[in-house]
Symmetry: C2
DNA sequence: TAGATTGTTAATCGATTAACAATC
DNA sequence: TAGATTGTTAATCGATTAACAATC
């Protein structure tokens, strides 16, 4: 697809563009200029044009961007035109919450299985899926050509589970465990460290009230 | 506390330092140099020293850093030496998962209430807390001096709820709703956009397999 | 004291913003 | 054609890294 390495800063902004364009589309808006989008999204028009141009010229001089087309293109860039098969590892509260979140399916994220090593949970149904024992994980990943594993397990077991996953040919790990995983570089890891996020919020709250303003 | 504005890039790294230092502490390690920490954390020693020095000199030339002391200091900087009162708005799967996550309490994050506008959930117990109707939110925040609201509600209601929250004197919003909130600047917002995170993972997976390597 | 390692300044790198020529 | 707005180059800004003097 794209070969010139795109910076993670740009990639991190794509889903937000995608979200706003989707909303514009739903409102029936057909065209938008970088300046108008800039006003709505509170980022510079310059950045918007730079970002889009990393992937080719999506606009038209003197006219702007076709909302529909741009939305589709960004979706394609993000890989949302394909489906992705996922399993959840750890059927605790968070694992179940993610499994039950319908909106992921709308975007082509398909939950195929959920695993836990607590026998009490085995067989319990979560959205058409039965919780399976961890022992069955490797075979399941291979048989069902799973792309992504969602790790919602305690930090203590994350290292060993991710090693096991690495040997199955999985391509990405969405990691909610509170550790940094160490996996071969052909496996992508996206971390969601919730407590880090909360700590950042706390810092910002406290830094604000010292001098009133920021 | 600190007045010279610290960049968000630095602040975002603090929780990770805190985590590694906690682990070192648990292992009984007393001192560490920026170079050793660099090896473990895979960031440059230079960055580590720069980051710490934003908040004052925590080390000692020729010796390094005292793990214990540094851990405490970073905890203090992040505000983890105080307690923070929180409510959860939206008692769906995610709201319940967060409510049940014990580890937050260990760090001084205290869940004081959980609200939902679904009458079927009212009165249901989640960890010593009864789910309350949304109508009681404002009064509850004021009476209990709540600092932070966790928004685990659908995007459609996020705007109106955050407006209501803004009038209660809340200081921060931990936003899991998939929209950008618009609140007065004295209220800090920390977004956790799960689907954005997942899209980023998808992009990185796909960008990798085109040319084998990155 | 000699050795080690910080704190801090200077150099580099990368990302953002500004400007404008190209062009629809 | 004239006006608008992109695509893209150049300028700026900020963050990271390197280097080294200060000092424990």
């Amino acid at each position: 697809m794209e070969n010139k390495e795109i910076s993670q800063a740009v990639i991190a902004r794509l889903p937000r563009y995608f979200r706003y364009l989707g909303e514009l589309k739903d409102e029936g808006i057909e065209r938008i200029s970088s300046q108008e989008l800039s006003d709505i999204m509170k980022v510079t028009a310059s950045q918007i044009r730079q970002d889009f141009n990393n992937f080719g010229g999506f606009g038209q001089q003197g006219y702007g961007y076709k909302v529909d087309f741009l939305y589709e293109e960004i979706g394609r860039i993000l890989g949302l035109d394909r489906t992705h098969k996922m399993i959840i590892i750890g059927a605790g509260n968070l694992g179940q919450a993610l499994a039950n979140y319908m909106n992921f399916e709308r975007r082509g994220f398909l939950f195929k299985g959920i695993f836990d090593n607590n026998p009490e949970l085995w067989g319990r149904k979560i959205r058409a899926m039965e919780v399976k024992p961890m022992e069955e994980m490797e075979e399941f990943v291979k048989e069902n050509e799973i792309d992504i594993a969602v790790l919602t397990i305690p930090k203590a077991s994350a290292a060993s589970v991710s090693e096991r996953l690495a040997r199955t040919g999985i391509r990405g790990i969405w990691n909610f465990a509170h550790v940094d995983l160490c996996v071969p570089e052909e496996i992508q890891v996206e971390n969601v460290h919730l407590s880090d996020s909360l700590m950042k919020l706390i810092y910002n709250i406290n830094s604000l009230d010292d001098d009133g303003r920021k």
